[in-house]
């Protein structure tokens, strides 16, 4: 139980790029991926989203699979990012027990909604029937990486992949697995685009997290995975590490199915648990990669929760969803990769599109890139159903 858990590999694909290098370039040049929809077949093409720049066929070509095998966009994005993380950490089939832990909210919904009428009436799209459920993408990733020792899929709305990372650490510390590829994936779908649209929380412009005039979120898509390895492996194999996953906390707001409590009780509990679990004090935290969806409800609730914990001595805060959009089940994984890059580069990435401080809050987010001695970062992921999770990444 005393084992530490280290981050040894990163993989990412989102609207700001494929792979860590492209992602880092976009972050450093303050280049957002939010824009017009090109690939999703929807009547709402005018709603700005963070769609990845590749068609389904281009994604299939990248992983080398054909049409007949029934791959959803969620699975394809996940395979690309998970493989990058796996290779980055130099993993190969060895004596170590490897877990593949993935969060998703959408599963294969992008193909289900395209072929649902075929599913009900003819045999032409049968290959996609079993791609619908959330576990499909995880099993395809595990098989792609030849690592089926332990697999699981988590769906706790927008905290799904933060929870998969937390679970990976717990399983490693309890000796159930030695290492893990953990994160999440979600492809854009009409289902989620229309779902959030009916809730009237989609901004018709690029989103403005923590701005007083924020009008809602932009949906995004993508996948982000990190490789977590036990202290034993890192020491015995002399592995390079990005950072340590020092703490994690999971709590429920127990308030409302979709809204956060006004004072962010669940968020406070998640951050407190993560701090307690890491043995750190609030003043040790240099930066918070906020959940920061840019909805009226989230940003004030999360902001209040941050103020409750940190008082007047606030760490720097930004929401990188202004770059990627809200990638739902992938967001915790994508933001874990960005947090690890912040520690490696000793550089914080800003909250784009911010102008005016939220009236109810006493702080403004970071709006410029800063180079900084970054020791500890909290990454927040909060979801529908009050599922809140905070992770703490620390410099080694």
């Amino acid at each position: 139980m005393s084992q530490k858990v280290f981050v040894t590999g990163l993989g990412i694909i989102s609207s700001i790029g494929k792979g860590v290098d492209e992602t880092l370039r976009a972050l450093k040049s303050k280049k957002s991926g939010i824009g017009q929809i090109h690939h999703l077949n929807t009547i709402h093409k005018g709603i700005p989203t963070g769609e990845t720049k590749f068609s389904d066929n281009e994604l299939k070509a990248m992983v080398g699979v054909s049409d007949i095998e029934g791959f959803s966009r969620t699975a394809l994005l996940g395979m690309i990012a998970a493989k990058e993380a796996f290779d980055d950490a130099g993993l190969s089939k060895t004596k170590h027990t490897t877990g593949i832990l993935s969060g998703t909210t959408n599963g294969g919904m992008d193909t289900t909604e395209a072929f649902y009428r075929d599913f009900l009436s003819n045999d032409s799209k049968n290959a996609y029937i079993t791609s619908h459920d959330c576990g499909d993408s995880t099993e395809r990733i595990a098989k792609y990486l030849n690592s089926t020792d332990y697999m699981t899929t988590i769906s706790t709305a927008c905290s799904s992949s933060a929870n998969s990372i937390m679970l990976a650490a717990r399983l490693i510390k309890n000796g159930i697995i030695d290492r893990a590829v953990a994160g999440g994936t979600d492809g854009l779908s009409k289902f989620t685009l229309n779902g959030f649209n009916t809730l009237l929380i989609l901004d018709k412009e690029p989103c403005k997290p923590f701005d007083d005039n924020r009008k809602g979120l932009n949906l995004g898509e993508g996948a982000g995975y990190i490789v977590l390895e036990s202290e034993d492996i890192v020491n015995s194999e002399n592995k390079l590490v990005y950072c340590e996953l020092k703490g994690y906390g999971n709590a429920n707001d127990a308030f409302h199915q979709t809204a956060s409590s006004p004072e962010g009780e669940g968020a406070v509990l998640a951050m407190r648990k993560a701090l307690a679990n890491s043995g750190l004090c609030p003043e040790d935290i240099d930066y918070i990669n906020a959940h920061g969806t840019a909805t009226a409800n989230n940003d004030v609730s999360e902001g209040k929760a941050i103020e409750t914990i940190f008082g007047w001595e606030l760490p720097l805060v930004s929401s990188t969803k202004s770059y990627t959009g809200h990638t739902l089940g992938a967001s915790g994984g994508i933001e874990a990769v960005i947090s690890a890059l912040s520690i490696k580069e000793q550089m914080l990435f800003p909250n784009l599109n911010f102008k005016n401080r939220i009236k109810e809050l006493n702080f403004s987010p970071l709006t410029e890139i800063v180079e900084y001695n970054i020791r500890n970062i909290i990454s927040n992921s909060f979801g529908f159903g009050g599922n809140n999770t905070s992770l703490i990444f620390s410099k080694c």
């Binding site: 139980m1 929807t42 009547i43 709402h44 998703t104 909210t105 599963g107 289900t112 909604e113 649902y116 009428r117 599913f119 009900l120 045999d123 049968n126 029937i129 079993t130 459920d133 959330c134 576990g135 995880t138 099993e139 089926t148 697999m151 699981t152 899929t153 988590i154 769906s155 706790t156 709305a157 929870n163 679970l167 717990r170 399983l171 309890n174 159930i176 009409k190 289902f191 229309n194 779902g195 649209n197 009916t198 809730l199 999971n250 709590a251 429920n252 707001d253 127990a254 308030f255 409302h256 199915q257 979709t258 009780e265 669940g266 509990l269 979801g383 529908f384 159903g385 009050g386 599922n387």
Partner: protein
Amino acid sequence: MSVFINGTGCISPQRSFDESFFEGHSENYTSDYLPCVLPVYKDYINPVMLRRMSKIMKMGVTSALIALKDAAVEVPDAIISGTAYGCIEDTEIFLNAILEYNETLLTPTAFIQSTHNTINSMIAIIKKCTGYNFTYVHRSFSFENAILDGMIQLENNEARNVLVGGYDELTTNQFNIYKRMHLWKYEIINSLDLLASTSPGTITGQGSSFFIASNEKSETTYCELKGLKTIFEPKEPDAMKSSLNEFLMKFNLTGADIDLCILGLNGDKESNRWYNYVTENYVPEQSLAAFKHLCGDYQTSSAFAFWLGANIIKRQIIPDVSCLKNKNIEGINNVLIYNHYNGTHHSFFLLSKC
């Protein structure tokens, strides 16, 4: 450290939410798939809340509340569940509306309730439980993953009472879609004749079972949960040899120490060869029971088997309708549950009298 099962709540095609099933009353069906016997929901859930809930939300929340009451636990420290498809009825409602009205005229209720964590969230809201909350959605390992997490919570002293469960509902569309995949029997037979059937396919069902797992024994304790193991895509039944040996050895047991083996037999010859191998090679002399003719075959049906096993140990009775072979032994101390879905996802649970 030991993990005890101190409460159970089950809604299934049997009348499993009260004493009826173990008093000898069983249900049988001659239909496409098995429906559930439902309790009077307003006895458990506020009618205002109830009105908006889908079928699986009612079943999930109510079975969780029954388990909590059974164990006399007011608020659990953690809520962990597993479901393969989540709230599939609401998912279909929203999906059909998108397709029918070409992405116009939509209302958000079904979308909100379609997320897989809806039931865990409702339980948290009703019980004002701000603790650890986790929903696993990994096919036929969903309930197994939830149980493993609950055991870790207790072993690490992160929680004292964990509410853990597994549930799935079935819709007509889903039944029809998977019929296309040849999962179900073509002919309609009586559910009690399932195990004797020689045709391919099975009968599907649905249900929700929740449990209170605790690190302390109580007056309501059913059994001790010794452990579980999952095996993904073993090549041949022969591969189960090392898996089962390894699993039982962890508890210093062999097949001979098992008093009852509960099997996921589902009336499909190809599927049954796995169970036959294990019974012939490991538990040839032991009592055997089955459960899929009672609850149907679905991806979290192992939660129903868990409910059956925990109750059999507590009551020391193997209900006739579930019993395949009764060796009439003195006591039922060790119960092994062996289930697989589709030959790909296999799991063992070991429950013991305490």
